[in-house]
Subunit: 277 residues, 2 copies
């Protein structure tokens, strides 16, 4: 028997994987969680039918959500807040900087962490780091009520359906801004500019005027819709071209050349965002 | 009845399209040719089971194979040779430069041109340009026996299977080099550095030492394996950072920012090519 997984990225196109082994299927209070293994991509984590990561290409997303901010942030990036990211991949990358003293991970769904610890060891290993505090609560609630300040906040969220909808609203970004330490930086994953351009446009429209600086940057992610993924950096005072500290060894996608190239937007995207960016 | 097309990019993963209308299926002396329509990608041209282009994203490949060379080549790029590219997309982009006086298209498979003229009007329209000469012959034979010289040669070839195998051998590149006018530039599509890294490595190894300058550059192409596609520029005397002429209006992917960003190689690729590039 051959078992094929299919994720549609629009009404008529998508990605397909031949499943070598089905490892886990469960339903948390928040979403459906599946893990299976693919011969050419390793283990794959799927939430509500959407590929969140594969072992083969997860390094791209996890490096790109954090290294640019960690390289250009002005103060020593001692305190980091990650919202979402229960798989542990973003924590793993952040922990590569010795300047980082404390990481707070706010994940709404405890079962994502449990499943990742059980099935995705290369990704979840960093969840054991003593500098990490994990809080199982709603990120929206956390940034509204916390009084802590963070040098960097990373929004490692899922697509704007189900539990993640309110992560794309202006009020959430205002509350994130209030949680930033002086010269702090906020980064959010910003969906596929090819397949989910409306989401990116809505996001830019929600945050318009909220930050003194915003930088949209791109990366290739083979298993995400369109193979292209956007991130948005926001803050009051940073220079994207001014690197403040050396790159820790061992990155597999991000490097100094990528840092320069990542802000080049294709013409179709420039034109589509005209007026909002 | 739902009809789904699937192209595997490796043993266990690939892209899938829901077919809205099946327009053409035929077998030329060289390959199988299919054209179908997809609601979200428009018409799709498939050769031997591999997606060559879709109406929605073909602009990326066709702009990226030619504009970088046309921007940086030193002399007036009057004479252009295109090998492959019977669909007409590369011809369309090249014709945007008024400096271009003559384009020679050498396509082995007349039926690709016929099918494109019949089903892909937005792409094949430029095949009517009076500056174009179409020759239906083997590109390998052409560059071996022609005595013409070209300012730019573009290798708009299919994957290294079937009729295209000898397009990836050193002798072919030597013959192309002999057909370059002084300060001429050769560009080849160079496959997916994610899904077909071995092909790219073999290509770099075949051409090693042949040209004074080589530049590898990248683009996002959603419907190609891995969503990332490489091109290789070769020549004796060009500066990739020195733009010689303005960009013609109307590009949808390529622009001055993309020109700078396209040469940033991700770390995994830098490491994989170490020693050959």
């Amino acid at each position: 028997m051959e078992l094929w997984f299919k994720e549609l990225h629009d009404a008529a196109s998508g990605i397909t994987f031949k499943i070598k082994e089905y490892l886990y299927s469960g339903k948390s209070p928040f979403q459906k969680i599946d893990v299976f293994e693919v011969e050419t991509y390793g283990r794959v984590l799927v939430l509500d039918g959407m590929v969140m990561l594969t072992e083969r290409d997860e390094f791209i997303y996890h490096e790109m959500i954090c290294h640019p901010a960690l390289r250009v942030v002005h103060p020593d990036p001692e305190k980091i807040l990650i919202i979402g990211g229960g798989d542990g991949g973003t924590v793993r990358e952040v922990m590569k900087y010795s300047e980082v003293k404390k990481v707070t991970l706010v994940e709404i769904d405890k079962e994502v962490v449990e499943v990742s610890k059980r099935y995705l060891h290369n990704i979840s290993g960093a969840l054991l780091d003593p500098r990490l505090e994990i809080r199982f609560e709603d990120g929206v609630h956390f940034v509204k009520h916390s009084e802590d300040k963070f040098d960097i906040i990373l929004l490692d969220t899922s697509d704007p359906v189900g539990p993640a909808v309110s992560l794309y609203r202006k009020e959430f970004y205002e509350n994130c801004k209030n949680r930033l330490a002086q010269n702090g930086i906020l980064v959010t994953q910003a969906e596929s500019p090819w397949a989910q351009l409306t989401t990116l446009k809505n996001l830019l429209s929600e945050i318009k005027g909220l930050f003194h600086k915003t930088t949209l940057y791109l990366s290739h992610i083979p298993t995400y819709p369109g193979g292209i993924w956007a991130f948005l950096m926001m803050g009051e005072n940073y220079d994207i071209n001014k690197i403040q500290r050396p790159l820790p060894p061992g990155t597999k996608y991000y490097n100094d050349d990528v840092h320069i190239g990542m802000t080049a937007l294709p013409q179709y995207l420039k034109e589509a965002l005209d007026g909002n960016y």
